[in-house]
């Protein structure tokens, strides 16, 4: 079966959805991403949907599922490049994509992921410092 490619860049996985996906292809992407996050220990997932002409409830559910599973596996998800017409339509469909972070484009999405990774690194090192003080 046809599959959407997933690129690895450092701690991040990057997916660009460029085809009008039928439902099974979308489900395959969801499975592949989940598997790859855990296999590579990725800390962030960026999904670029700038070439997607629609997001219906099925694709919306897939995007929410990916972000939810990524969170369980300790990775952040950011969705980039959603076309304004798609965003307007999503709201009318009644889908708010809860818990999904969005960015205008890939560049901003990457900095969002980097920033949140740096933040969590800081938090970890502060914990380490605290622990050493207590000793």
């Amino acid at each position: 079966m046809e599959r959407i490619p997933i690129l690895k860049m450092g701690d991040f996985l990057i997916v660009t959805i460029q085809v009008d996906m039928h439902d099974r292809l979308a489900l395959a992407l969801q499975d592949d991403l989940t598997t790859k996050i855990s296999a590579t220990n990725a800390k962030g997932v960026l999904i670029d949907i700038s070439s997607l002409e629609i997001v219906d409830s099925f694709i919306g559910r897939m995007l929410s599922n990916i972000s939810g599973m990524a969170r369980i596996l300790d990775a952040q998800t950011v969705l980039t490049g959603m076309q304004p017409a798609v965003a307007i339509t999503l709201v009318e469909l009644g889908l708010s994509l809860p818990g999904i972070r969005t960015a205008l484009n890939v560049e901003r999405g990457m900095s969002l992921l980097r920033a949140s990774l740096a933040e969590s690194d800081d938090a970890t090192s502060e914990d380490d410092v605290d622990a050493s003080h207590e000793m």
Partner: protein, 134 residues
């Protein structure tokens, strides 16, 4: 309202849902719909085509271009001979699903078009009509 163009597409597999989306997009462009209008009618068609396949066991979509004076519009009729819907009010409600979906297909499609009609009864299949004007 005079009919200017009509095509019928079978909905038997997931790939057909994609074909319906593409055909509706093409007609919406031909009718002069703006990008947001196109996106709305294509998204509504995608929701209903998927229901025709998943719950209706397959069926067909009739895509019609209409001209009413200077108004141009699209009328899309999805029909299947599946199990039908017992309680349409319940099925229309956001969040109601019997198939593990989000339950926003019917309600969402209705909000995305200007005219929405659903005819369904247990044992006699389902027919959903969507109309959007430019």
């Amino acid at each position: 309202m005079p009919l200017t163009k009509c095509e019928t597409l079978a909905i038997r597999a997931e790939a057909d849902v994609v074909l319906v989306r593409q055909a509706v997009r093409k007609l919406a462009i031909e009718q002069g719909f703006g990008l947001v209008e196109q996106t709305k009618i294509v998204t509504a068609a995608s929701e209903i085509a998927r229901n025709t396949l998943d719950y209706g066991g397959g069926g067909e979509a009739v895509l019609e271009c209409h001209t009413d004076g200077i108004r141009k519009g699209l009328r899309l009729v999805f029909s299947d001979q599946g199990p039908g819907i017992k309680d349409i009010g319940q099925a229309m409600r956001d969040g109601f699903t019997t198939g593990g979906g989000l339950g926003h297909g019917l309600g969402g499609a209705k909000r995305l078009v200007e005219e929405f009609d659903i005819v369904s009864a247990p044992g006699s299949g389902t027919r959903v009509t969507l109309v959007r004007w430019k």
